[in-house]
């Protein structure tokens, strides 16, 4: 079960993820990111506070956009991850490539 919500803010988009991301619904996440990119947004905040689990397929979605984010100079910050989900990012080493903050405030500041 995964719920994805896009919240447009003044100068950034908040991608709110709740539930679990696994192989079956990772395509939904992919589609959501694709949508945001088409809108030409340069700053993406991922609200992961409701995210309970992310599988390797879900991580693969974030990973596959890293290059594109860099090329198009798009900033992405994930915030509010539960400890065990955060751990998954850390173990894989994704935290080195994607900024992960604990609060929305920290995340907004990190983007400046």
């Amino acid at each position: 079960m995964l719920k994805i919500e896009n919240i447009d803010q003044e100068d950034h988009v908040i991608l709110q993820l709740s539930g679990e991301i696994d192989a079956s619904n990772s395509v939904d996440l992919d589609a959501a990111i694709q949508d945001i990119l088409e809108k030409g947004t340069k700053r993406i905040l991922v609200d992961g506070s409701q995210l309970e689990y992310i599988s390797s397929a879900g991580l693969g979605v974030f990973m596959s956009y890293l290059e594109e984010f860099q090329e198009k100079d798009i900033q992405i910050v994930i915030f509010g991850l539960l400890e065990k989900v955060h751990q998954v990012f850390v173990i894989l080493g994704l935290d080195k490539l994607i900024t992960i903050k604990s609060t929305e405030q920290d995340a907004l500041e990190a983007m400046l």
Binding site: A23, D30, S56, A57, L59, G60, V61, M63, S64, L66, E67, K84, I91, L92, G93, L94, K96, L97
Partner: protein, 686 residues
């Protein structure tokens, strides 16, 4: 010897029959000579009777053989055989009569020898006709036989054989005992003659033909009978052969059965079309229910459906409208109607209140046929039957007639049945196709499974300084976990464990790539960090952009008693220090392979070395183990694993592994299906 004799029963019996007949003629001629020359020939009439019986038996055997042998025993064929024999006997008898008519009152006409010879010819032909007919009728009577009928027939045959020998008692005279026997045969014949089950199976045309044949038989039989009666009073015949109880009895039987058949066939003529119709319906039903073979089109069933429905309801026009994939109604099959009229009727039907609207959910009454009155210059009534497959409306069958209220209840019932059967056939066909497709996938998965099983090592390399055990279970048929060892030199061992992102077949493919990378790189004995960097370079070229592989690589040196390792995004390794009695996860940073696909990757991967002592234990896992969930969605987790391992470090590597696996399965419970691949390597140092 036996072989020489047996194959030609037909010819042998025929020959003996002719010989018996010739002997009969000869004996009589001898008698007449005796009479004419006033000499007692001394030939008793019994000689003739014996020859007569022999003749009967041989003719019986001959026909019995030839009818059984003949494969083409259709009813009409059988009747025609009887009729043709009758015609032959009749024709020859008439020829003889005509011949005598031509002779007039000449001396030759009164010649007893010739008269006697012709008498024998008539006798022989009459016998042939009667006996052959009896055997043919036997076939007809015993069609769809019951035990009772068979017994009845057997009794009749016994009765006939007795009557054959009756001649020795009454010398072929028409006395009371003769009449008594005849009555017996008469009663039997009537009771046998009600077995006429073959008649309904004749088509209308065949019935007409059989009526014709039966009249021929009746005429022939009557004529021959009258002729036989005329011989009773004739004085030129020394021994009367024809006033025989068997012959007369057979006359009675043949005549009665033919008469019954004739009448019943005649009265069956008007209903014959109904029976044929029912038979066609049954055949159509069977054609509909035969499942379509894979590769064929389901349109074939719909084709049969509309043809059978139209013939069953005598409809003047009909068509099938079906919904295509976009949900639009299209006309698939139409018969005896052109498209413009079809459109008109469609419009008329749509205005009708009883016309079934496309429902979203199937209800019981939705699948019923609905007769509708229509207001059209040509067509006055229509029958609309919806086709449902798997609760979904597939389309509608519409039949139209030029008469009002043209569809009666029987027709509605049979059309509903046809439609139901056709729908089942189409549904079966679809299910079958799906099953075949699944079967193919399954087979391919089995192949993948076999390949993958061969990818996991059969043996794990080690020496006397450590023991090692490995375990792997895949959630799907194929998995993405991988581990392997390699002995680099006498004291150096490489150990790798990997986990490919995603699950199932795609993961299994990537895993086999990882194995290839491992075996290529391990040749050069790289350090763990170099291994990771090179592997990342290689995999960056071949992994899809949203796939990555996590792995840990260890070099175990049993001389230096050291382990040098690197971690690439893989879950941390558990290490038990025997001296300190501590079990902790080794901490080292490292990014998964395929995440950063450029030269910067080397900045994100590291290498560490530790020394081991006797009793130390290393537990290497994939994330499936720590992420295994119980019924409530709680993960097994790193801490639980650490505790289980810690409690069991005193055991052998195999036992530690078994304990951990047992705990994991106990934790997730029996009802939960493993949703990830589990792999585990336990190294115990000695």
């Amino acid at each position: 010897m036996f072989k020489l004799f047996s194959p030609n029963i037909g010819k042998v019996t025929f020959l003996i029959a002719i010989l018996a007949w010739l002997a009969l003629v000869f004996v009589d001629i001898t008698r007449i000579f005796g009479l004419m020359n006033q000499i007692e020939s001394g030939v008793a009439p019994e000689v003739s009777y014996i020859l007569q019986v022999a003749f009967f038996i041989m003719v019986y055997l001959f026909y019995n053989y030839s009818i059984t042998k003949n494969e083409r025993n259709e009813f009409l064929n059988l009747i025609w055989r009887g009729a043709s024999t009758g015609l032959l006997a009749l024709a020859i008898s008439l020829l003889i009569r005509g011949f005598y008519g031509l002779l007039g009152d000449s001396r030759l006409a009164n010649d007893p020898l010739m008269r006697n010879f012709f008498y024998h010819v008539n006798f022989a032909l009459t016998s042939l006709f009667l006996i052959s007919c009896t055997l043919l009728w036997k076939r007809l009577i015993l069609y769809q036989k019951t035990k009772k009928v068979v017994q009845q027939w057997q009794a009749f045959e016994i009765l006939l054989s007795i009557s054959m020998f009756f001649v020795f008692f009454n010398q072929n005279t028409l006395d009371y005992s003769f009449l008594f026997g005849l009555v017996f045969i008469f009663v039997f014949s009537i009771s046998l003659s009600i077995n006429l089950k073959w008649i309904p199976y004749l088509t209308f045309k065949e019935k007409w033909k059989s009526i014709l044949f039966f009249s021929i038989i009746l005429v022939s039989a009557s004529y021959l009978f009258l002729q036989v009666l005329s011989y009773s009073d004739a004085d030129q015949i020394p021994v009367n052969l024809t006033d025989n109880l068997l012959l007369i009895g057979l006359f009675v039987f043949i005549f009665i059965y033919s008469l019954f058949s004739f009448l019943v066939t005649l009265f069956n003529l008007p209903t014959s079309s109904v029976f044929e119709q029912k038979l066609t319906e049954a055949i159509n039903f069977q054609r509909l229910s035969q499942s379509i073979k894979p590769g064929e089109n389901e349109n074939q069933v719909l084709d049969i459906l509309i043809d059978s429905s139209m013939s069953a309801s005598y409809a003047d026009a009909g068509w099938l409208e079906t919904f295509n994939e976009e949900g639009q109604l299209g006309v698939l099959q139409y018969r005896f109607i052109d498209k413009s009229i079809l459109k008109q009727i469609q419009n008329v039907l749509l205005q009708s209140t009883s016309y079934p609207q496309a429902p979203t959910q199937k209800r019981e009454e939705d699948s019923k046929s609905i007769p509708i009155k229509i207001n059209h210059p040509v067509y006055k009534s229509a029958l609309v039957t919806p086709l449902y497959i798997n609760q979904k409306l597939l389309g509608r069958l519409i039949l139209a007639k030029e008469v009002k209220d043209g569809f009666n209840k029987e027709m509605v019932n049979i059309i509903s049945t046809f439609v139901g059967q056709a729908c089942i056939s189409v549904e079966n066909y679809r299910l079958l196709n799906e099953a075949i497709k699944n079967e193919r996938y399954k087979e391919e998965l089995e192949i993948a499974q076999r390949v993958q099983e061969s990818l996991l090592p059969e043996k794990l390399h080690h020496d006397e300084c450590f023991e090692i055990s490995g375990f792997s279970a895949a959630a799907d048929e194929v998995g993405g976990d991988y581990y392997e060892t390699k002995q680099l030199d006498e004291h150096t061992f490489a150990l790798i464990i990997g986990d490919v992102s995603g699950k199932g077949t795609s993961a299994a493919f990537n895993m086999s790539q990882m194995k290839g990378v491992f075996h290529s790189l391990v040749q050069t004995h790289p350090n763990p960090k170099d291994f990771m960097v090179l592997a990342n370079n290689a995999l960056s070229e071949c992994l899809e952009k949203n796939h990555f592989i996590t792995t840990s690589y260890y070099l175990i040196n049993t001389v230096r008693k050291s382990v040098t390792y690197s971690r690439a995004g893989h879950c941390p390794t558990l290490f038990h220090n025997h001296q300190k009695q501590e079990t902790e996860y080794l901490s080292i940073d490292g990014m998964g392979l395929g995440i950063l696909r450029n030269q910067l990757y080397k900045n994100y991967v590291h290498e560490k070395t530790f020394h081991f002592k006797e009793g130390d234990v290393m537990v290497v896992i994939t994330d499936g183990i720590v992420e295994a969930k119980d019924d409530h969605g709680v993960e097994f987790g790193y801490e639980r694993l650490r505790k289980v391992a810690h409690q069991n470090v005193h055991l052998s590597s195999q036992e530690i592994q078994d304990k951990i696996i047992k705990e994991v399965y106990k934790f997730i419970g029996k009802n939960t299906i493993a949703d990830d691949d589990y792999s585990l390597l336990v190294v115990k140092f000695k």
